[in-house]
Symmetry: none
Subunit: 187 residues, 4 copies
Amino acid sequence: MRHSKTDLAEQIFMATDRLMAKEGLHHLSMHKLAKEANVAAGTIYLYFKNKEELLEQFARRLFAIFMAAVEKDLDESHSFFEQYRQMWWNIWRFLQDNPTMLSNLNQYELLPNLAEICKSVDHSCWDNFCQRAKAAGELVELPNDILFQLGLKTAITIASGSKFLKVELTTEILESVIERTWRAIQK
Amino acid sequence: MRHSKTDLAEQIFMATDRLMAKEGLHHLSMHKLAKEANVAAGTIYLYFKNKEELLEQFARRLFAIFMAAVEKDLDESHSFFEQYRQMWWNIWRFLQDNPTMLSNLNQYELLPNLAEICKSVDHSCWDNFCQRAKAAGELVELPNDILFQLGLKTAITIASGSKFLKVELTTEILESVIERTWRAIQK
Amino acid sequence: MRHSKTDLAEQIFMATDRLMAKEGLHHLSMHKLAKEANVAAGTIYLYFKNKEELLEQFARRLFAIFMAAVEKDLDESHSFFEQYRQMWWNIWRFLQDNPTMLSNLNQYELLPNLAEICKSVDHSCWDNFCQRAKAAGELVELPNDILFQLGLKTAITIASGSKFLKVELTTEILESVIERTWRAIQK
Amino acid sequence: MRHSKTDLAEQIFMATDRLMAKEGLHHLSMHKLAKEANVAAGTIYLYFKNKEELLEQFARRLFAIFMAAVEKDLDESHSFFEQYRQMWWNIWRFLQDNPTMLSNLNQYELLPNLAEICKSVDHSCWDNFCQRAKAAGELVELPNDILFQLGLKTAITIASGSKFLKVELTTEILESVIERTWRAIQK
DNA sequence: TATGAATGAGGTTTCATTCAT
DNA sequence: CATGAATGAAACCTCATTCAT
C-alpha cells in the first residue's frame, strides 16, 4: 500500500510511543519498531536518517503536541488565576487522556537533545502568561522557568507519580493543589 | 591486590556514576565499566548477578545516600519551617557538591525498578516530618507524596534545570522559593 | 524527456565510470548510480537485468573502447617496430586522456567475469600483429599472450603506477621503454 | 579452546585468504569469515578494530611474505643475471606453491590503502639490487620502479594469466622470458 | 577470588530489487 | 517508458555473559 509522506512518519511516531510505553526506551530496537509500525525495517530509514534523528523528531513532535494541549481554551479575558487553573487542568487531563505519554514521561527526559529542543521551541504560552501577570502585579518576580517548576510542573509530577499513590486523587485534592501552587507563585 | 567485598562493589558503583555522567546510561557497557573500575569483566559478576541487578543496587545505594543527606543536621526542636528549610538546603547543597549525581538525575529515573525501590525504602524522614507537622496543625492535610512534590521536589527540579537557566540563582531567589513552597504546603 | 535506448544506457555507463573513479567499485550502489545518472532506481533495471549484468556490460564496453584505441592510426605498411611503437603510444595517450579510466584500472580487474569477457572478445588486433610479425621472422616464437605481457602491458602498468612515482616520466624515458620492451619480444 | 594471540590472528588471516580465493573480496563478509576461521563473529573484533583494519593488516602481512619469498637464497656473489633469474624464479615458484595467493593477486590490488602500505614498506631488496647493478654498469639508468615493471613484474602477470592460457608454459618458455626481460633492462 | 578470551544473539544500517502508479 | 516508495535479507559491529585458567 502507498502512503502519503506524513502518514507513514506519523505511523512510525505512534508505534514509537506505544513501544516506549510497553518496553521502555532502552529496549526500543529499530526492528521491533518496524514491526509495531507495520513497515519494513529499511522503510524507517526513508523517513529518518538514523535512530538518533528519529528520536529527536519524535521529541519535537511530543513537545509541540504538549504545548498545544496546554494552550487549549485559554481565554486571556479571564482572571490570571482562572487562566492558570485552565492550564493546570489542561495538562492534567491531557496526561490522563494519553496514558502512553504519561508512562513515557520519564523516558522522554532521556531523549537525545531534549534540552536543546525545548529551548529551540517557543515557550510563548507560559512566557506570555508570566509576562502579562507580572505586569499586572499578580505574579512574583522570579525567573519564568522557576515559576513553571513551582506551578504547572506539579501537574506533571503529580500525574506521573499518581499511579504509585495509595490514596485516590479526588477533584477536591487537585483543586487544592492548584490553589496552593498558585499561592506559591502569586505576588 | 585483595579487596574486601564492599571495597570492590563500591569501586564499581563509583565507576558507574562516573561513566553515567560522562556518556549516559544507555552507553554504559559492562566492559567500559570494568575498565573504569580497574577490574576484569568477569569480576563484576562475582558481586552482581547481572547488569540489571547491578543497576538496581546502584539505585538503592543512591537513594540511601540521598536520604541520609536530606536528614543531615535536622533538629526536631526547631520550628517546622526551619526544618523544611534545612531539608531544602540539604538537597540543594548535596546536588551542588555532587555534580555527577546532578547530571545523572534524569538518568536515575530510568534505572530499572526505581519506583519499586523508592517505595520499598523507608521514607521515614519526610513521612515523619509530615506526620508531626500535620499533628501540630502546621501542614495541610494532603497525601505526603503530594506534599513532597509541592515542596522538596522543587529543590531537585530547580537544581537539575539550573544549568539551562539564563539567570543566575542567587541565595535570595532560592530563599524566596523555599518560603513560597512552604506557603504552598502549610495549613 | 525521451531517450533512445542506447542514450540512457550510455548515460548509466558514464555515471558508473565517474562513480568508480570517485568512490571505488565496492562503494558503488545502485541508488547512487541512479542519482549520478539522473534516472530513477528502477529505470536501470529496464536496461540491465541486475547489477552483475550491468557491470559485465560495462566491462565489455570498456574493453571495446580500449581495443579501438589501440588500433588507432595503425598502418600495416609501416615497419613492425613502428606499428608496435604506435600501439604502445596509443595505449599511453588513451590512459592520459581518460584519467577516470586510469584510476579505475585496478577496479576493472575486479569486475565479474572480466577474464571470460576478454577471452570472448576478439583480440584480432594484437593477435594479428603477432601473427604477421612472426611470419616475417621479426618476433620471437612465444605465445601471443606472453608477448603481450612483455610488451604492450608495460604501457598500462607504467601509466597506472606513474602517479606513485617520484620521478617524472619524460618522453625520452618512455621511448626507451618502448625500444627495450621491443627488444624483449623481437626475434 | 584457548589460543595464543598470534594463533588466532593468523587463523583469521588464513581464512581470509581461502575465502578471497573462493568467492572474491567483495563477497567477503565478516560472518562467513568467522565461520571459515572457526571462531565467533565477535572474536574477530578482539583482534581487529573493524573490517577495514583487518584487510589492511592482511595486506601488510601479504606484502611481507611476498618480499621474504623474493629474497630467498639470493646470493650477491653470483652474477647480476643469476641474481635476477633467482628472484624471477622465486616469485614464480612462490605463486605456484600458493595458489590462493595467485588467484587473489587481482583482489589484493583493491585492498584499501595498498598503495600506502607498499610505499611504507622497505623495498630494500629490489632497490638494493638495482643500485648495485647500475653501479656495476650492468643495468640501464631508468627508475627502479620502471625496471621492476619491465622485469620481475612479468613473473607475476604471466603466472596470474597462465590459467587462461591455452599453451602449457614449459621451463624452456619461462627461461626464455627471463632472458628476454633481462635483455630489456640491462645496459 | 579474579581474570579476560571467547561467545553469539541481537543491535543499527545499507542496498539490490520489485511493483503499483 | 519511467518512477521511486517500499521491501527485507544481509551487512558490520556491540555487548552481556560464561568459563577455563
